[in-house]
Each structure stands twice: as C-alpha cells, then as structure tokens.
Symmetry: C2
Subunit: 887 residues, 2 copies
Amino acid sequence: MSEKKYIYFFGAGKAEGNAGMKEYLGGKGANIAEMTNLGIPVPPGFTISAKVCDAFYKNNNSYPEGLKDEVENNLKHLEELTGRKLGDSKDPLLVSVRSGAAISMPGMMDTVLNLGLNDEAVKGLAEKTGNERFAWDAYRRFIQMFGDVVRGVPHSAFEEKLDQVKEEVGVELDTDLKVEDLKRVVKLYKEVYRKHTGEDFPQDPKKQLWASIDAVFGSWNNERAIKYRQINEIKGLLGTAVNVQSMVFGNFGDDSGTGVCFTRDPSTGENIFYGEYLLNAQGEDVVAGIRTPQKLSTLKDKNPEVFQQLLDVREKLEKHYRDMQDIEFTIQQGKLFLLQTRTGKRTGLAAVRAAVEMVKEGLITKEEAIARVTPAQLDQLLHPMIDPNAKAKMIPLARGLNASPGAATGQIVFTADEAEKWAKEGKTVLLVRKETSPEDIGGMNVAEGILTSTGGMTSHAAVVARGMGKPCIAGCKDVVITGKQAQIKKRNFSEGDWLTIDGTTGEVYDGQVKLIKAGITGEFAEFLIWADEIRHEAVRSTIKQKGFLVRTNADLPRDAKVAREFGAEGIGLCRTEHMFFDEGKLEIFQEMIVADDIATRKEVLKKLLPLQKKDFTGIFEAMDGFPVTVRLLDPPLHEFVPKTTEEVKVLADKTGIPVKQLQAKIDSLHELNPMLGHRGCRLGITYPEIYDMQVQAIMEAACEVEKRGVKVFPEIMIPLIGTAKELSILRENAESVIKDVFKNENRQVEYKIGTMIEIPRAALTADKVAEYADFFSFGTNDLTQMTFGYSRDDAGVFLPDYIDQEILERDPFQVLDQEGVGQLVETGVRRGRTRKPDLKIGICGEHGGEPGSIDFCYRVGMNYVSCSPYRVPIARLAAAQAYLRNK
Amino acid sequence: MSEKKYIYFFGAGKAEGNAGMKEYLGGKGANIAEMTNLGIPVPPGFTISAKVCDAFYKNNNSYPEGLKDEVENNLKHLEELTGRKLGDSKDPLLVSVRSGAAISMPGMMDTVLNLGLNDEAVKGLAEKTGNERFAWDAYRRFIQMFGDVVRGVPHSAFEEKLDQVKEEVGVELDTDLKVEDLKRVVKLYKEVYRKHTGEDFPQDPKKQLWASIDAVFGSWNNERAIKYRQINEIKGLLGTAVNVQSMVFGNFGDDSGTGVCFTRDPSTGENIFYGEYLLNAQGEDVVAGIRTPQKLSTLKDKNPEVFQQLLDVREKLEKHYRDMQDIEFTIQQGKLFLLQTRTGKRTGLAAVRAAVEMVKEGLITKEEAIARVTPAQLDQLLHPMIDPNAKAKMIPLARGLNASPGAATGQIVFTADEAEKWAKEGKTVLLVRKETSPEDIGGMNVAEGILTSTGGMTSHAAVVARGMGKPCIAGCKDVVITGKQAQIKKRNFSEGDWLTIDGTTGEVYDGQVKLIKAGITGEFAEFLIWADEIRHEAVRSTIKQKGFLVRTNADLPRDAKVAREFGAEGIGLCRTEHMFFDEGKLEIFQEMIVADDIATRKEVLKKLLPLQKKDFTGIFEAMDGFPVTVRLLDPPLHEFVPKTTEEVKVLADKTGIPVKQLQAKIDSLHELNPMLGHRGCRLGITYPEIYDMQVQAIMEAACEVEKRGVKVFPEIMIPLIGTAKELSILRENAESVIKDVFKNENRQVEYKIGTMIEIPRAALTADKVAEYADFFSFGTNDLTQMTFGYSRDDAGVFLPDYIDQEILERDPFQVLDQEGVGQLVETGVRRGRTRKPDLKIGICGEHGGEPGSIDFCYRVGMNYVSCSPYRVPIARLAAAQAYLRNK
C-alpha cells in the first residue's frame, strides 16, 4: 500500500482492496472489495481510506493534499464503468455515501443515499427508468436525507411538509402520493432546506458529494459515536472509511427486491440458508415494517434464477470466509447485487453447532472452532432461560444483580423452613430473603431460585447459588420484605404468589413465565472435548506450565459428581464449614464452641470425627483418580452459634451450661468486622484441636477409600495464612496427626499440604510462605476484599455508583482486577516459585470461572483454575482459548 | 590481630587487648584489657577469645590446634607475674574463670571462682594469708561451685551436707562454723562429688582449669542462654570469651572490701559518685543481703587513700569512655583492684541529664548525646508514674494491654455520663468500660485514665487516650463489667471504688496509689532542641529528603496547642469526624444522614457549615505558620445515627419522619464489616455534598484567618482512596468548591490536595494515584488492617496467642511490620515519586510515633511523620536518631 494512496476502486470483478485491509477500508469497504475480487456481483464504486479520516482530524479538519484529484479520477472511472454521469439529465449516475469503520458501529455514523439527483437528473432518472413517480420519490427522499444528515435540518421539519401535502390531497400513506404531489413535496422540501440553512439546495452533484463525504467523516466524532466507542472499549482505530457506491434499486417491480440473509441459521446453527426478502422494495421498507418480509425459501419458486445465484454466493462466501456470513442483497430487474457481507452474529447454540459442523465439513480447524465461540455463548447453553417469545412481551418488575445465571419460576416463600415445607408438599418455590445465611442451605437447595434484597455478587446467596447452579438475583433493592410480604415498587406480593427471575439478566417478572430448559447437545460435548485436547496441548508444549487444569469447587459428593460430568479434573476447593450445618453436626459443633476447656472440646470433637470422615469418603469416591483439596475450617465460630433465645435455651439444656452464662459466651464471640476477625488459620492456631480432628478425618477417610481401590489424592489446604510461621506451625501439627493416622491404619497415602493465598501479606511474603507449602491456591475473593478494602457483603451499596461513574470498569468480585489485585497474584506466584520452582499453583476464588481472569491465571503461570461445577464447561473453553491466545 | 592468636594477656599495666576488641574478648575482657592499659589496677590474667568458642562449635566440640600450648604459656606468664603457682602448697595462685560475650547476658553463663585449690594448696593459702578458716571456707566454696557448674552436681546435694554439719555443731549461720567444721564439710562435699560424678574431686589444678574452660564455653549453648539470645534478638556473635584472672579477696579484714559504683547517679543523672560497698566482704556477700552495704561517700572517712584512688579511677574512666560507667571493685588489704567496668544502665531522667551535662563538660558531642538516649527513656519523662517505692510492695490485680502510657488513680465509674457528672462534683474518676465509642469522648476527657475490658492497642479507647495523653489500659480481659459492677478475678468493685492503672505496663492495682508527676526539666528541653538541630541537618545535607519533619495528629485547637508546645511542626492528621460529635452538631448531622433527597441534605449541611468552619479557624490559628492536613469525613455514617429507641424518637420528632420509617433507614445503614464498608472517599463519591461542605468550611476558614494575619497552609486530605479515578473525581469537586470560595472571598490561599495511602491497592497503583495528589500520607493503621486481614477491634482475641507463639514478633498495630506492610509503603513511595519526583510524603498512622517505624519512614524517604501530641518529643528524638543512624 502506498502511503499516498487514499482511494481504492472496486468494480467489474476487480478491486484494489481486499478483506485484509479493514484497518483502512473499514469492514464494509474491505468486504465489498473482497467480494468484487471473488467475482460476486457488487455495484461498483470506491472506498476512501480511514487514513483520510485520521489525517483530517490530525490536520485541523482539512483533507490531505491530492485527495480532491484522487476523488475526481475515481469518480471518472466509475462514470466510465457504469456509462452514466453524475447529474446527467438522460441517465444519471446515482451513488450512496456510507461510513464504515474497521469495527462495526451499527447506526452510529451517517449515510446518504440517492446522491446525484437534482432538478435535471430527476428527469433523466424518470426517463431512463420509465417511472416518474419513482424518480421524484427518490429525489424528495434525497433532499430529506441530505438536509438531515449533511446540514442538520430537523427531520420533523420535512415530515411536517409531507404530512401537509398528504392532508391536502387526502391520502394516508406516502405510497398513495402521485407524481404531482411528490413534485410539490420536493418544492416544499427545498423551501425547508433554504429556511434552515440559508442556502438553496445544491444542484451541483459534486458539491452534494463533497458535502456528504465531509458529513460522514464528521460523524466519526459525533457524540453518540464517541460514547459508543467508550462503552464498547473500541480503541486504536484510524477513523471511518467512506464508501461511494453506485446505487441499485430493489423497487423496480416484481423482478426486483431486497433482503438480508445468513449462510446458516443464526439461532440454531443448522446448515440451512436462512433469511428474509421483500420484492419490489428498498432496504428501508424492510426496516419500516410496513410490509412483512418473506422467508428466503419462498424465493426459490418466485425467482429460481436469482435464488440459484444467491445459493452460489452463499457457498462461495462460506468457503472463502470460513465462517457464517450475514449478507445484504438487492435484486434489480432480475439481477442480483451484494451490498454487504460480514460475520454473522449468532446464539450460543448456533455458535457451537456451526463451529463443530464447519470442522466436520473441513472448513475450519478445531483450534479455529474453539477460538470462535465465546464463553458467554457457552453459558447460555448451561441454564434454563425465559422463552424469548414470552420475554418480548413483558416488562420486568425490578432489577437486581445477576448473581447466578438461568431462569426460575416459582411460588414465593420467605424462610428456608417454609421452602422446605412447601417443597415437600410438591410445590415449586422461589426463596425470597433479605439475605441468606448458612442455615438457609436446606431451603436454598429445594428452591428453584433465590432472590435477595441485599448483598452483592459474592454474598452468601450468590456464592451458594452459583455453587448449586441455581438461578439467583441478589441485592434487588426494590424488593422490600416485611414478614411474609414483599413490596416491589408499591405492589404487594404474599407467600404463595408466583414470581419469575432471570438470573442471567437480574430481572424479576410477575407471575409464572414459560421457561426453556437447558441441555448439553451432542455437538456441545464434542466441542468441549476438542477444547480439552487443545488445553492439554499446553502441557506438552510449554515449559512454563506443567498443565492447566480445570478443577471445581464442591463441598458435597453430589456436587462433585455433577462437576465430573461437566469435566472437572479434581476439586480445587472443598469447604468443610458447610458440612457442620448438616443435621446432627451443628448441635455437636455448637457444644464444642461453647465448651470452656480444651478437654471438653476434644471430647466433643471425637463425636464429630466419624461424621466428618463420612463427608470425605463420599467426596473422595466421587473424585476417584483426581486430587481433592480440602480447606480446613474457615469462618469465625460465631457463625455457628444459636441466634434466637429459643435456640440458646435448647443448647443450654443440652450442655448443662446456665442460659445466662451461655449467652455471655455467645456474645463474647461477636465481632465488629468478622471478615477481618478470628477465622481461618487463626482458629487453627488458637484451637488446634479443631484442625487436628479435621486432618484426622481427611486422612482416615483417604486410607479407608484407598483400601476399597479408590485412587485418592488428598490435599489439605490451610486458609487465611498471613505469615510463614502460621503455616509452619499448622503444617507441623497436621503432619503429626497424619503420622499417627498412618501408624494406626498401617498404610500411607500420598498427600499434600498447602495454603490459600488470600491475605495481601501472604502474597507479599510468598517466598517465605512457600517454604512450608506444597501448593498455593489463590483465594481471590478475600484477596480482592483486602486489596480494595471492600467487604463483599457491604460493597453492594456503593459499587453500582462506582461502576456508573466509571471508577471501576467492572465489579472486581466478578472480574479479577488485574491492575491491583493482579499485582499481588503475580507477586505471589513469582516469589512462591523463586523459593520452589515446582510449586503447584491454582485459583479457587469466584474468578476461577471468569474467562478474562482465567486468561490472566494462565499468563501468570498457574497450574489450574477451580470454579463452581456449573462454570466448569466455560472454564474448559476459556482455558483452551487462553492457551491459543498466548501461545 | 593474628588469625592464630587465641589468647590475650593483661597485667602489670599492659594488655594485649583493648576496648575495641569486644567481638573477640567479650565486653568484660575487652574492658579489663582497656583498664589495664590505662594503668588502672586490675588483677592480671588472660582472656581466651570468643573465636575459640566459635571454632569449638564449628569443629564438633573440639578446640583449635595450638590452644593448649597457648593456655600453658599464658598461665606460665601469669604465675611469673604474680610470683605464685597453681596448686602451690605455700602460696598458691587462685584464679577465677568467667564467661563474657560481646553483648552482656547477665547470669546466663557460668563462672568458677577460687580455682586452683586442692588438699595441698588450701594449706598454702592458710599459711600465706594466716587465716586457716578463710582458706578452708574458700576450698569448700570452690568444690561446691566447681561441682555444680562444671559437673552438674545438684546445688542442693551440697547444701544438705552443709546443713547437716551446722546441725551437728549446733550453729545457724555459715559464718559460725569453725575450721574443723569446714574441714568436715570439705570431706563430705568430696563424697557428694564422688557419688554424683563417679570420680574423685580433681586435685590437679590444670584439670580444674580445663574442665572450667570447657564448662564456660559449653554454657554458651545452654538452654537459657539460647532462649535469652532469642528473646533479646542477639544475633551474629562468635560466642563467649573466657576470662582467667588471678583472684583478689575483699574479706581479708577491715582494710579489705568490695563494692559496686556508678560514675554518676543512675537515677537522676547528677554528676556525683554513686555506689555501695562492704568492708571485709566478698562480692557474693553483697548479693546475699546478709549485711547492708554502706553508701560510697562514707568510705572517704574510713579509708581516704582508697577513696582517692577510686575517685581517680572514676575520673579516668569517664574521661576515657566518655560515658557513665558501672564499675565493680575489690580492696585487698588497702589496695584497690578494678574487676569490671561497663556502660551504666540509667533511668530516662538520668540519661537525659547526663547526656546534656556531658556535652557541656566537653566530654561528648551533641550527636553522641542524642544517639545515647533511647526513645523509651524519653517516654518515661512524659507521663506520671507510680511511685517506685509504693509499686515494689504491690501485686497487680490484673494485666491488660499497655495502650497509653502513664499512671492514673481514681474512683471508678462505668459510663461516660457518670464520669462527667462525678468530675463536675470535683471527684477524680477512672472510666471503666467494655469498650469506648465516639460518644464517650466527654467522659474520657474528664477521666484521669481509661480501662477497657475489650479492644486492642488501636481500639477507640486506646487511640483517643493516646491522643489525649491520658493513661489507658485496653483489652483487660479479667475485668468483667455488669452494670455498675466490675468483677476482677473474683473480687467485686463498685462505682466509686478506687483503682490505679499503669498504662505504661498495663497493670491494674487496687486502691489509690501514690503517683509521681511528670515534668519537662530544663535539660530535657535543651536536649530536644539539639535533637531538632540534628534532624534539620538532614534537610541541608541529604538530597533524598527535603526535610524530615515531626507533625502531630490533632483534631482540636487545644490539642494543637499542646502539640506545638511539644515541638510539632504542623498537623499531619486533623480528623473531622470527632467534630460532628460536638454538642449541637451531632443532631444536625443526623438530620442530614436520614434525609432521603439531596436537596434536604444540602439544606441541612448549610446549617453545619458555619459550625464546621469555626472548628477550622481555631486549629489554623493554633498552628499559625505551619501546615494543617485536614482529613475529610472518614467513618461510615451509621456511627453517627441514634442507637437507642429513645434517641430515635427524638430524631423522629425533630425531622418529622415517622419512627418506623426512620428506624428502617437507620437499619439500612448497618454493615456487616464496617471497616471494609461505605466510608472514606466512598462517602465522598456517593454524597459529594458532604465533602463539598467540608472543603468550603476549610477554605473559608483559611481565608478568614489569613485576613487576620495568620499564616495558613491548608492541606485537604481524601481518605481511603483505592483507585486513581476516585481521587480525580474528588479533586475536581474540591477544586470547583475552592474556586467559588476564592471568588466570594476575593482572595486566594495556598493549598494542597492529597490522599491517604491506606488501601493496599492505592499503594500498588501509587504511580497512577500520584497523578492527582499533591501529597501522600500513609495511613498505616488501615494499611496494616488490610494487609494482614486483621480488624484492630477484633484482633485482640488472637494477637496475644500470636505473640506468645512467636508468629508475630510484635503487635503490628504498634510497630510497623516492615516485612509485609513495609513493602507496600516502600512500593507506594517509590511509585508515587516515579510519577512525581517531588511528591510530599508522610505517615499519619499510629506508627508515626514509634521509633523503629520512624527509622523506616526516614529510610524509605518520607518527608514527615505525624503522631499524637504526647509522642511528639519522642518522635523528634527518634527522627534525629534515624538521621544519625542512616547518614
């Protein structure tokens, strides 16, 4: 490409540009050139490079030298090729002037059609086409569009005049206006133009052309275009190109028409030709919705020749572009013209199916298939959704945080107990709470979905719901709960009323809405296996990583099984605290907590040991052959103690501790900032007997299942480490317990002891911490809390403001903050590996299932990510893409 | 020093070693050599270098080659010099074998006296001294000491026999035993020795000597010595030296004696000769306490010649060592011998007075004077203390955290209101609370001291008490408060009972104990001015720092005045939240908080503006000529809302908001982790009108006082910044308000806008934050909370365990954790300066008054530290020392 070449001609089967020149020609221009070269019929024209736009703005709104001549030359070439002249009174050349940047910005920039018409040319057009009405209608449209787009004359000013004429002649539709009426409209339009601009409507087509080019370049920096680029993070473009193209018309009768089609079904991905068209119509008629477009398949009968041409084009384009295309065409008097082709947008279902089928058709490679489907598209396939037809007709009652994807509908209940009771009666329930707490697990488990009025994306409800794969809307402020009543924007809902939630969008709907179930199709499974093949390629081809595995966060055998079905390669986080809320265990654990001396605590813990052991055997069996990382007790003890007077009394009776004394003990556990309090390994230090019991249970369970032939790889994870010394003490304690277990069981099982890195100080001193760790697992939920100083339970109050005011691009609890938190992660990995080059490192925070964060984890050299079972397929895809992107 | 030389001889006015060789000869050996060279009479002997100890342990417990010969040669030299021989039956040489490391470890290692006695030599000693009883007593002591120290024979086994003989002959005191009795004791002692060791007591003095040398070197690694070095962080020593020295005896009659003295008074620092002695006694008699030692001044009359010798030695030593010396001496038959000299330990008072006077005497430089006084010594001078005489006789009732130094005594009350009521009645009160909160300020202000049963070193009570310079004990768990009763270890105390607290040690005493008031003496003031001169030298001589100033944290004009008197050079942190608790202001602020719309809030804030402005004019006036950093509102709004139903009702009446609605509003402000919640600049973002009012008040106040001739340098500080964008928005808001103020006032005042760096993310992205900051002030309280994940309000539960188990060396809220938090501080400073090389940087956390942390702040290049008014003198000293230490 010459530095000085600003314009690229296309026409008669030959173009100066090609599809690779999007940066300069924009998406539209580059593909028009490409199609021209492919021999596909495209109306001829030329594209003014985006370099001109760049130079225009850099050079104080003036065009580079030589541009005028280049436009003249190209215009001359176009006139020669078409045999028509701009403004000609016999057979005038009409052109469109359209914008087109390298990245599509639909509707953001300006377009002028039918350019070249004036008082003379309109006659030429009438004569040439034999259709006077068509010519005058085109002229009046041109004046209106030019006035609006190029000179800023209000659209309404023209519409007023049109309405005036329609009224005068007594018609309702534009199409009922006669030639004479249209001539009068043109006259009135010219007056409007003069009134608003102080000038006559320009009769010189060259002036029309330059004014339009100016306008298109100018529109690059109009307010809405700037805003659009900000929102969509479109950066680094030169500007827009300008396409000047000879006009074709689909409204020349029944042998003409216009349409839009996809080379495959964009909803399902099925390999059928899919689209709509209208005969005797222009593109804007389709948009206006006055006539209903026809299915493309009907064109076969109406105009088999043109249809065959279209089929040929479809095949040619797919073979050439190796992807589904979205094309615009016009048929002018039986002749097909392509006006645009681009990669077609599609649903998740279509993306996967088309990708898999294209691989089988030999069109693309597996790597291309994997790179082409976004994790968000995959997510759609994993959850039930509201029937799109139903959704289109409804207005949401309220909107909260889209805390866990999928849709659910049910009768609302306000307590977990009610949820369980109603569910037992066979009812379909939706649990509506201010916020949930660990005791609500039972009710959450039976509910179709969860709706909370407070709490953020990582509140208890959100985390647990994602873990269960259940739809959840959190922090929906408009829901005001009082007893067994919820008020939503002044409407009252009682227990038993139906609501529907869409956890994917955060929308709450009134009543019982029709849902569509999710399913893993054959292509989906196949696709994910390819993703795994590519991901495991990383193991073989990179030195940095010894693998990049996808594990799951699962606390129960049931969840572990689901995760394995979804392709999890082990458990990265098995929380033990939820286990203590099980029936029978909570009461024992409470006894332990309120005991005053270590002897009593040890005695009580003995009762817990067999129960805890059973939890682990189930999980080890479910994860046969894969590692299981068990995190020792993490939450503060006060989360487990009785809350109500009634519950306190029960515990008092059981333990024989006087109520007053018991209440005092419970009160003494209260903390002002529990997130920064006596939890995690701090409990392990002050109550070593708890961790000892847990380690014993884990290792006894491991020995037991191994005897039964299960391949078990227990990994004991110690949470909330802030200093190397904590880990050294707790590791020593654990090893001493393990030694005893091995002795008693008379067998040894391979095991690892490692730590969460979730306290900033642990990341900063990771070289020292690594001394005592076989592995690191980044707990980026807590790490984000501490690094930002945000409590995930409380940040919901200001985070929306923060995102509105663009202080934060995204919720850092959803998408890892690479700039800040990421520094600590990177430091932790680097320093850990400085001390132990082979240190196994992973992530088990919520970010382990978020594609952008997975890419980051891959780049800093982690060995695995771990996420909730329902995110595992997404993580498998994202991990494969991370490898492809960075290899 | 030759590599191969292991032994250094001293005697007859000449020594091979000197005071500079402590590393090899230990403190004792090096000073003995030095004194010998100075011509001071010292019993001759030799020192075996600590290099031998090092080699011994490195070489598998064996001595380096050639050592045996070197000991033989030195021993021979010693025998020639003294004219006596080891084990001689006429005039035996007796020696002591003493340990002595480079750093004193009192009582940790072994000593053997009277070595050289055996069955023959005892007769020689009797003959030579003409005192048979003395000789046999010395022999039995030697057997006992050798047996115990060298061979591990239990002390009690010897004592039993001694008691047996005393019983047999019917005497009570050792001194009443006759020669024959002592001979029998020797016989029995030898039997004890044989029984426990299986060997006869060694008669060969060479064997005695080597066994003793072995024992002393062995004692370097005994358990208590290792523990002592750990606790006192003594590292990097080679080991201990061994001093073999000819014995002198102070118990040869009334022309003999022994004593300990200081070259100045170690309590007051007065330049007088201060000490005690006993005639006809050995060192151990003084220790045993059987006889009461005499004041040194009385020796002048009893033995003017010896006294004059002592005076000469005193002068010689002080001139030579240029510091107060602590010396041990023995007089043997009218002849003075010095056994030890070392730098004398002293009180804070003495340290300052001696240092100042020595400068005036021309003995030392000002720099030396400053380097010599520890900040802890200075602290003693700043607070009242319990009379040491009274304290010696008391046992503390309980012990808590020494949260704010100084002693206080008073009648206990349990609420702030009672404190104010009782104080009005003229009573002296001590406020005892579970914990304090901002509403208690009034009561805290009138109390002599504060005692809380919960909370840590940086709890509200602790921080406010330190700010007020009031004694405080926090987190004293043994105090159990119920209503107007406190139970302390099963004893009940009621309102009005007297208690005394020592905030310096954390001890609580029963009753009203006598206190000694604090005072800044003339020397003290002088000393601090020198410290400032040295510190300000830093400004002139270093390029890195543009000064290293000491500012204060003060919220009230009164505190600001105190701080100026203490030498503060500006305010580094003026918290504005305390201002809102003032009478009249709280109610208005509450109205603002519960208002639902911005218009009402703005209206209410208008009422606060003049009151807030008045707060600032007072502070600006008090700090005339110095900068004042005002921090905008930091705590979450729920700290300000009514707590009781009664208070809610009052506010409901006032605002006209129904109680139920008001209570709901208040409840909605509740946070689970307020420390990580909606506070600091997050309030500024969501309620910009609050910060706008504060900025307006600050700048209007600045303009007003400037009109009156006050030199004012307001610095607006925005707290809790986590992202650069927050600061950019809030800076823009503030500047817009300031512009309006300047316009209205028709004048401009120099100002700065900066931020706290207290969120880890702010430190990590300091380069970006610096873009919008004129200064950084490290808020290391919060930074420590987030970096460790410790809530300072809750950590009191586990921190004591953490320090016991040596997980943490010290409470990180008191002493900056340089390893972890320090990394973030250093990163913040470095990145901030990368963006703005001249960025002004300071610290305003609690650590700003802690000497070790001040040194760190100096080293990372901060421009100032800021601390509570009562810590300012300490910070001035610590800052000067930081400069001296690092220059």
